[in-house]
Amino acid sequence: MALDRWIALVILAVSLMYGYTAFFMMDAGLPPFMRFNPIWPSTFPKIIAVGAAITSLVILLGFEKKPADADEGEIDFSRLGDYNIGQAVFLLVLMVAYALLLRPAGFLLSTLLFLVVAAALLGERRFYILVPVAAAAAGGVWYLVQQTLGIYLSPLPTFLS
C-alpha cells in the first residue's frame, strides 16, 4: 500500500474518533437550556467528521485515480538512502531540546546553543564566524523583541534571574 493510502487510513481513524466524540460524548455535558438551540457545539464537528470519513475512505479504497499529468512526488523513494535522514531527525530533536530548555536556560543561552549546534551538525566548522554570528543573532532578536516591542522573553537562566 502506498504512503498516501496509509495516511488516509490514519486520517480515517482520527476522524472516526473525532466523530465518535462529536456524536456520542459531547452532548452529554450540554446544559438543558441549550438543548432548545438549533445549533449545538457538536453540530459542526458532526458534519466535518462525516465528510472527512467519507473522503478518507475514497482515497483509502483508491477510487481517485491519479491523473496522467500529475506531478511526480518531491521525494524520490528509490533514492531514500541518499537522503540525510539522520541529520533531519537530529535537528528535530534539537528543536525539541530548545523548546524544553527555553525557560530553564533562558533565551540567550538556549538560542546561542541551538544555532551553533545546528550549524555544526550541518557541517559548519568555521566556529570563529559561527559563534559571533549566533551570539549577535540571539542578542539582536532578544533586544528587538523585548526592548523595542515589549514582549517578554526571559533572557537569562532561571537561577541567575
Binding site: 504512503l3 537522503y83 533531519a88 545546528a118
Partner: protein, 505 residues
C-alpha cells in the same frame, strides 16, 4: 470632493508627514519580515508612538505607512523562505516560493512589490469614489452569505490545490476544519476536543500551524536533500530582477481584476484580506488558459500577482466600513479604530462631513504610503534577496530558529514549540505522500469564521432553512459545489478521451 482631496494632499505632503510615511514604511517592512509579527501586532505596538504625536492626521499617516510596510514585509518572508507569518500572505507563498527556488527571488519580490502597489493604489482610488455607496451594499451581507462565501473559498482552493487530486485536497481542507474546532469557540464557551490538555484550551495557534505546514517541511527538505539547495534557489543569483515585457503583459489584467475583486471583498466586514487573497488566487487560476494553469503552484507570476494585488486592495477596502460606518471589518482596522478614538476622532457617517481633513488625509496617505513603499523597496530588493546567498549551514538553523520564534512570540508558551515540531513532522510526511498542505491551513484559518457564521445563521433562522430562504446564500453554495465537481468531470473526460485514443491506435 475635490476640496477634500486638496486638503488631504496638502496635509500628506508636508515635510514632517512625509518623514512619518517613510519611517512607518521602513519600520513596518523590517518588523513585518519576522514571522509571527503581522500588521496587526505591529500597528498595536506603534499606537503609543502614534498617539504621542498628537496630530491625528500625522498619526494616521504613520500608521498607514506601518500597515503597508508590514504587509510587504510579510510577503517577503513568504517568498524567500516559505514562512508566511500572516494569514493573508499564505497565498503569496504558493507561487512566490517556487519562483525563489528557480533562482528568481528578485523577480518575485519585484512582482510582489508592484502588484501590492497597484492593488493598494487602485483600492485607494475606488475607496475615494465609492466609499459611501459601498457601505450600504456591505450591510446586505448577512452571516448566511459570509458562511456561503467561505464555503466557496474553501471549495475553490480544494478544487485546484491537489494538482488534479481533488479528493486529497478536500480531505486536507476537512482536516484543517477539524483542527479549527479544537479549543474553546467564541459561541459556546465550552472546550471541545482538548483531550483534557490545558494548552489546547485556546486552540492551535495559527502561526504555529503556518510554520509547521510550510517553513519547517521546507527546511527539512533542504536538510534531507542537499542538492535541493544548490538547484538555483539559494545561489543568491538576482540577475533576473527585471520583469520582461511578456510577463508585464500577463500580470497587468490579473492585477486589474484582482484589485477590484479584492477591494470589493475587503469592503465586506469580516471577509478581509485573507479570503480576498485566496479567492483571488483561485479565480485567476480557474480562468487562466490551460497551459498557464499548469504553471500555478510552480512559480507562475500570475499566481503571485493575484493574491498580492487582492490582499492589498482588500486592506484598503476594509477602510470603507471603518471610515463610513465606524465598523471595523478586520483585526487591523479594529486596532486602527482604537487609535482613532484615542486621537479623538470618531469614525462613522459624520466623519466625512465633520472632519473632512482627516477622512481625506487617511485616503491620501494610503496612496502616499504605497508610492513611498515602492520607491523604498524596489532598490532594496537585491539586498533583501541576498538572504538566500547565506550559506546553507547558516540558513537552515536560522530558518528553524525563526519558525520557533514565530510560534513562541505569539503565545509565549514553550508547549507551542513542541506542537510545532510535531505538526512539522506530520506535514513533512504528508508532503512525501503528495498531499497538498495549503488547503489544510486555509481550512484551519477559515474554520472558526465558517462555524461562527454557520451557527449564527442557524440561530437566526432556527435551523438549516436559511439556505433556501436566502437566494444569495443558495447561489454561492451552488457555485461551491460546481467548483468541486467540475474538475472531477473534466478529469474523467480527459481520461476517457485518452482511453479512446489508445483504443483507436
Amino acid at each position: 470632493m475635490l476640496d477634500g482631496i486638496w486638503v488631504g494632499l496638502s496635509t500628506a505632503f508636508s515635510f514632517s508627514n512625509l518623514l512619518m510615511v517613510i519611517g512607518g514604511c521602513l519600520i513596518g517592512t523590517f518588523i513585518g519580515m519576522l514571522p509571527g509579527l503581522g500588521p496587526m501586532s505591529i500597528i498595536a505596538i506603534m499606537i503609543p508612538v502614534a498617539i504621542s504625536i498628537g496630530d491625528p492626521s500625522a498619526a494616521l499617516i504613520l500608521l498607514a505607512g506601518v500597515y503597508y510596510g508590514a504587509i510587504f514585509g510579510g510577503s517577503t518572508s513568504s517568498i524567500l523562505i516559505n514562512a508566511p507569518g500572516v494569514a493573508s500572505t499564505v497565498a503569496t507563498s504558493f507561487d512566490g516560493y517556487p519562483l525563489t527556488r528557480q533562482g528568481k527571488a528578485g523577480k518575485a519580490l519585484t512582482v510582489a512589490a508592484i502588484s501590492s502597489f497597484a492593488g493598494g493604489s487602485i483600492g485607494a482610488i475606488l475607496l475615494m469614489i465609492f466609499a459611501p455607496a459601498l457601505a450600504s451594499v456591505a450591510l446586505l451581507f448577512h452571516s448566511a452569505e459570509y458562511f456561503a462565501l467561505m464555503v466557496v473559498g474553501l471549495s475553490a482552493i480544494a478544487a485546484f490545490a491537489g494538482s488534479g487530486q481533488v479528493g486529497k485536497a478536500l480531505l486536507m481542507t476537512l482536516v484543517g476544519l477539524m483542527m479549527a474546532t479544537v479549543g474553546e469557540g467564541a459561541l459556546f464557551n465550552q472546550p471541545r476536543f482538548t483531550m483534557g490538555i490545558l494548552d489546547l484550551q485556546s486552540g492551535f495557534g495559527f502561526i504555529t500551524l503556518a510554520m509547521a505546514m510550510f517553513a519547517l517541511p521546507e527546511a527539512l527538505f533542504l536538510v534531507l536533500d542537499p542538492s535541493r539547495s544548490n538547484s538555483g534557489g539559494s545561489s543568491g543569483d538576482i540577475k533576473d530582477l527585471r520583469i520582461t515585457k511578456e510577463e508585464a503583459k500577463k500580470i497587468t489584467p490579473v492585477i486589474g481584476r484582482q484589485s477590484i475583486q479584492g477591494f470589493l471583498i475587503g469592503v465586506l466586514p469580516g471577509a478581509g484580506a485573507t479570503i480576498a487573497s485566496f479567492l483571488g488566487y483561485a479565480v485567476e487560476r480557474n480562468i487562466a488558459p490551460k497551459e498557464e494553469q499548469k504553471e500555478f503552484g510552480k512559480g507562475s507570476v500570475k499566481g503571485l500577482a493575484a493574491p498580492e494585488a487582492a490582499n492589498n486592495a482588500a486592506c484598503t477596502g476594509s477602510f470603507v466600513p471603518l471610515l463610513t460606518l465606524g465598523i471595523p471589518g478586520s483585526g487591523t482596522t479594529a486596532i486602527l479604530l482604537g487609535a482613532l478614538i484615542a486621537l479623538n476622532v470618531s469614525p462613522g457617517p459624520r466623519l466625512m462631513v465633520d472632519q473632512p481633513e482627516i477622512f481625506w488625509s487617511v485616503i491620501i496617505s494610503m496612496y502616499v504610503g504605497n508610492v513611498i513603499l515602492l520607491i523604498l523597496n524596489l532598490p532594496l530588493i537585491p539586498y533583501i534577496a541576498k538572504v538566500l546567498a547565506v550559506p546553507r549551514n547558516f540558513l537552515i538553523p536560522f530558518i528553524l530558529f525563526f519558525t520557533l520564534m514565530g510560534a513562541y512570540i505569539g503565545q509565549n508558551n514553550a508547549t507551542e514549540l513542541l506542537m510545532l515540531v510535531g505538526f512539522g513532522v506530520c506535514a513533512t510526511l504528508l508532503r512525501f505522500a503528495n498531499y497538498p498542505l495549503a488547503p489544510l491551513l486555509i481550512g484551519f484559518i477559515l474554520g472558526s469564521m465558517l462555524e461562527d457564521n454557520f451557527s449564527r445563521s442557524m440561530q437566526l433562522y432556527d435551523g438549516i432553512g436559511f439556505i433556501l430562504e436566502r437566494p444569495m446564500t443558495m447561489g454561492l453554495l451552488v457555485l461551491a459545489v460546481v467548483l468541486v465537481v467540475l474538475p472531477l468531470i473534466r478529469a474523467r473526460r480527459v481520461r476517457k478521451q485518452e482511453l479512446q485514443a489508445a483504443e483507436s491506435d
